[in-house]
Amino acid sequence: MDLAKKTQQLNDRLNYIKDIFAGKHQDDITLLESRLNEFKDNAAENVEEAVATLDDLFGFMEKKLEAKLTPMDKVRIVRHPQRICLKDILENVYDNYTEIGGQDEHTNDPAVLIARAYITRRYGKKTYNQSVMVIGHEKGHGEEFRNGGSAKPWGNAKALHYMHVAETEGIPVHTYIFTPGGDPVEDYPGAGQQIAKNIYEMAGLSVPVVALISEGGSGGAEAFGLADKRLMLSHGYYSVISPEGAAAIEGRLKRGERASAELTEQCAKNLHLTAQDNLSFGYIDKIIQEPLLGARPYHYDFFRTLRQEIIRATDEIMLEANGFSLFNFSKLRRLQDPETNLDETYVRWHIKRKRRSDLIEQRQNKFMRMSRKTYINRQSILGALSDTWAEQWREVYNRLVYDFYHHQRKHYRRLWEEIEGEWLSIKQKTAKPFKDAYNKVRRIDPAAEEELTTLSKWDDESSRNSAWKWVSPKAKEDRAVTCPNSAVHGCVDLWAPDLYNEFAGVCTNCGHHFKMEYQWFMHNCFDENSIYEFNNEWEAGNPLKFPTLDERLKEAREKTKLKSGCITYEARIDGIKCVVAILAAPFRGGSVGAAEGAKLISAIDRARRKRYPLIIYSHGTAGIRIQEGTHGVIQMPRVTIAIRRYMRAGGLYLVLYDTNSFGGPVASFLGCAHYQFAMRSSNLGFAGPAVIKNTTGIDVPPDHHNCYKALSRGHIQGVWDRRDTRTNLKQALLTMGGRNLYYR
């Protein structure tokens, strides 16, 4: 036995224990330390026996400490440099692999590793090499250039590119999530925008996807996480925010201040981020048991288990997607037996072309079933029944009107148009000599001549010739307001009754847009008395029983008279019917939780069923509501899937940003829109300046998230003036969108 090597191993185990418990369980650690020192000092005699005794002691202590692991200890486990990383998995789980997305630091983003790999299975005398595309975050073992597994936008773009390659080649994708979160750099196309694209595309990937979560940090995890099977390591975590981030918010810390260890520990517990919690919520399918105190690269038995579970998950998706036949059923039965050695069974990793859409639908339905009972619905039974009946009736109506009648009508209309075209051409040729002769003798109508030859007059009807329908209460204050650009542009002070009423909150000199209430948009951009609000009985809850959240929600309800941060309604713009959802900033910063997610999905479905355009107005959103933990973060894929279904059905989806929009919503259902616009002076991005400073140490310029910057980097398609919102919305409704919108 190599004594030096064994001593080093034990030393590493001790340091690992010290690191993950961060000063706790000092008695046990001191005992291990003293025994190890004794062993080092007296190593000459009976080495093998001494090593075995010490090994047993370490094993015993690890077992004892395993029972005392807290959620924060698990967070420290997944972040430890000794933790297994993706390269260890590629070496030990797959039989062969080739790295294709770059090599070590010679890649556009070393935090993302991509490889073509295969798993060899033997069945009878035959050997099968089953190819997969492996995509994941690579933290490395303390390598600085890996950026801790925080993928940059181009890293996520690279991953998406290879997902499409896998789709072209018809091979499954295995994603490995080892990230504390996405890197908040806002270079093209923007961190949030790229994550949104990944989620949107993964929702429609026609090959099986298996995701394994070790460290699932919010948006960064979601970029790879929309999978058919979601496995999780027993010592991993999956959360909306890091415990430190949550502690900084809960402790209301200023920039640069650090949260206390106790508060961070408490937040980790309150966030319910462990694998066991997530399994009970239904956000993961299975937990893979790790060795005591977490898997490290020398736990070869664990890699065997992991290999079996990865194969099992992929096999299950294949069999389920290919439909139930007698053979498939018996294979599925065998797969469910934990004793079965999957290396010695064979399931073909191929999905029939006609079954691919079923696979996508199954994946989407799986996410849509999640997080259903995590908000409060105060709707009466009669109301719910009536809604269900209306939905069913609408489905039948759609089948009859759009799928049958309109389809047939389109077919005959096309035929008629061709005949009519021919007829008109013959008619014109025949009638031309007669028409020319008539025009020569015809007397021109003076009124028509004037209309055609003089300049048109200002059309009063189409312009706003009266006061705004809704005026901000701020207009009642008798005070002056200073424009924040006054030092640069020399703007004079504005009188609040003018600014918040006639000027619609816009500086008359520089055009700066002051913040206005969401009611301004709601009542001034749509036809009078056309608003019909729905689902207003759905209420934000506290599914994790997060301390003090109930009181804070109550306070928000009383202050805003809203029950959640999302308002959904039907309205008309110049007679064009549409479904609108507002993320209202006054209610808990416009954060999105389970209730908001459910309301958004319901609104999107309504727009799809009724063939109406959909407008989401982000009056302001701070991101996902952290106090709801994974119940909040799961809304990112859920709402994005609903949006995808809507857009694929031909719907027109418009997003309009106002004030400040950050975090998960921008990195999912808002960012995936093909048409995104922002109100002047608004800010949008993935993470705010304080978070960027805390995570990357970079100071960003004050205008880093300004809408014009977002326009320059290609995140949004235009910047609108608040006073022209109604006109621009109507213009957008008439010039953009899919083919199935009813008003076309």
Partner: protein
Amino acid sequence: MLDITSLLEEIKQRPYTDLSIKTPHTGIIEFTDLNEGDKVKDASGEFKEIPGTKIAVITREKNPRFIHACQKGIIQKLHKQYDKQFVEAGVEIGVLRHFLSKEEVISILLQKALHLFRAPERAKYYFAPEADKKIKISGSRSITVTDGMELFIVSRMKREVPLTYHGPEGIIYQVYFKHNQNVDVNEPLIGICPPDQLQTIEDVISRVNHEWKEQI
């Protein structure tokens, strides 16, 4: 001829500038807890996004606006008699003594001692090939410029035209523009030093670099 040594002595006698703090507009002024003799900071942060020390609040039409220190220094005078009183625009409410830094002193000296040749239009400026070659090998001070010398190339939107130097003869002491960067109209391009004053200027600058003690 400018006596740069006596100019430096003059600055040494009075190593600060007194900046008058004036009200930007009418309103009721309310001072903060600052007193005469207190130190104040100017705007800080990488992008100067953190405003300087708050000196007073001026309220007009229920609209409070802060008056911040625009330079670092000490409060020399504070006219507290105006506290909670209505004041007109442009009224001095205090004096801020700003002590000159090394760079500021050098800049004052050079601006007075050198002849500045300024950009005639907004464009990118390059040295003409001959001058550029010399500068790259021996530095800018190796070139003596004369009136009518073709010294620059003005580059704007792919249009490149020569620019002739007009001014007194001398050597290029300071180059103010950078390669491939736009220079605004009237910004200095080079600072020309008369050959007989070169040694004196260099000595004085070196003295400032070694001896100048920044007070705050």
